[in-house]
Amino acid sequence: MRVLAVQEYFGLAAKAIRFIFARPFYIGDVVQQMDSIGVESLGIVLLTGFFTGMVLALQTSVQMAQFGATMYIGRLVTASMVRELGPVLAAILVAGRVGSGIAAQIGSMRVTEQIDALNTLGVDPIKKLVVPRLVAALIMMPVLTILSDTVGIGGGNVIATAYVGIPTGLYWRTVWEQIASGGFILHYIPSDFVQGLTKPFVFGGIIAVTGCYFGINTKGGTEGVGNATTRTVVVASVMILIVDYFLTQVLLFLFG
């Protein structure tokens, strides 16, 4: 991306965040976007979360068996799912599924002059199109992640019980031990949860803004729409992975 494009990207992000708190509020659009970003992504996120949890349990059981420490499978699956894999995997899936959809929809609105039409009807396209998608993504991404984490840990439970023979009660006790070991914020909120939910919040923002940015800047007809979707998926996925690293550093510094 060129320097100017980077500036435009963050300009759009800043404007959209500012407009979240400015009238008019398009509540109906936000709900509709929450449905298409959140509810419609549920199946794919749950499916991948479940299998990720299972494969984590399977791999750790093999490694842990060498040290006779298979009872700690729950702890490892939980640590990986809550802090890293849950947020990142869900975000990458949503970037592919939703980010591309946002870019395609807004991009085709751009090439068929519907964005100009909004402008000429006296409506700011950022307020009408970008803000509802951003708000919906900021809300739904953490929700999807919680569900993905839960199902993933559940998947670990299946493998731990079926392959390794760890009783379900023991498994879930180690899960809780892991969560508690991270410490609590304000006495009640597990620090792991705060870390695990800050990330999807940020990733949701990245997905929505990236999709909208490439959608709004679509040029060159239907081919342009195709380019916009591809770029969205690539840029959003790469950004998620890079931001994840730096965010982890910050969160570890803050919460340990």
Binding site: E113, A117, L121, G122
Partner: protein, 305 residues
């Protein structure tokens, strides 16, 4: 327009008066640019004199509502150079010209989707050059725009499309909105009960254009702008759309600025035609004057009629 004596915007000025006004630009030492109206009058005096009397008979007011003054605009190449244009209240101006001569650009300037490099755009007394983006959104509510491809919101039904500007900018109740949508759809000769629940994708090209017109006129704007309203339509539908634009002018006294290269329908609906060529306006006057024009380019352009 307040600083111009009323007689200069209306009936043709006597020749000596004309001379006086031409001398005006020098009066404070600096050569000053003429107002759009004067500029056009100076250049196309003959054409305008005759057409104005005829226009007043059909109810065109003397008051200018859209003015482009000495507009220049360039992107990677110059698009418009020193273009002046005036539309009076109730008038239908057709901006004609070959493809790529900046016709659609003039509409975008009027809507302040673009800003000129130099010159002023004045809509209903407000100079658009100085307004902010947010102010422009408000001013645009005075104008209804019909896009070349209709640009209907394809995720919304016909009803939602026409109701959209009403929901955004008015406090009408749902019943009032429905009544208004029905009224506008009937105005454009569509049966409300048949089309209201349809999606834009289910409509024919001509129907989309008509819904586009209904949406553009939903908040009863004083100005309607059309970008190639008849391009890509069959001759019958072209006739329907042309009649509609005329109906808006006749019944609602709406000012229309139409960008079109369809000179046949331009002749039917225009009170004045502006011909753009080589980044400039080469002709401005009534359709009759255009036919009578001896200008080589004008004659070439009309060659196909």
């Amino acid at each position: 327009m307040t600083d111009i004596p009323p007689d200069t915007t209306g009936a043709p000025a006597p020749p000596e008066h004309e001379e006086e006004r031409r001398a005006l630009p020098e009066d404070d030492g600096e050569p000053r640019l003429r107002r759009a109206e004067d500029e056009l009058r100076a250049r196309f005096a003959e054409e305008l004199e005759e057409s104005e009397e005829a226009q007043e008979r059909v109810g065109v007011s003397r008051e200018a509502i859209v003015e482009l003054e000495h507009i220049s605009l360039a992107f990677d190449r110059p698009i418009l150079e020193d273009v002046s244009l005036v539309a009076r209240r109730g008038e239908t101006i057709v901006i004609a010209g070959e493809s790529g001569t900046g016709k659609s650009t003039t509409l975008k300037l009027i809507l302040r989707l673009l800003r000129p490099d130099s010159g002023r755009v004045i809509v209903d007394g407000e100079v658009l050059n100085d307004v902010t983006y947010e102010e422009a959104l408000v001013i645009r509510q005075k104008m209804g725009m019909v896009f070349q491809g209709a640009a209907l919101f394809d995720s919304m039904s016909v009803f939602e499309n026409v109701a959209f500007p009403l929901r955004e900018h008015t406090t009408l109740s749902e019943d009032e909105i429905e009544a208004r949508v029905r009224e506008k759809l009937e105005f454009v000769d569509l049966e409300p009960d048949r089309v209201m629940d349809q999606l834009p994708a289910e409509l024919s090209g001509g129907m989309k254009k008509r819904v586009g017109i209904a949406r553009g006129m939903a908040v009863n704007p004083a100005i309607m702008l059309y970008d190639e309203p008849t391009s890509g339509l069959d001759p019958l539908t072209t006739g329907t759309i042309t009649r509609l634009i005329m109906k808006l002018q006749r019944e609602l006294k709406v000012t229309s600025v139409v960008v079109s290269h369809d000179i046949r329908s331009a002749f039917r609906m225009a009170t004045k035609i502006a011909l753009l060529a080589e980044k400039k306006i080469v002709f401005f006057g009534s359709p009759e004057d255009m036919t009578a024009s001896q200008d080589r380019y004008v004659q070439d352009f009309l060659g196909g009629v």
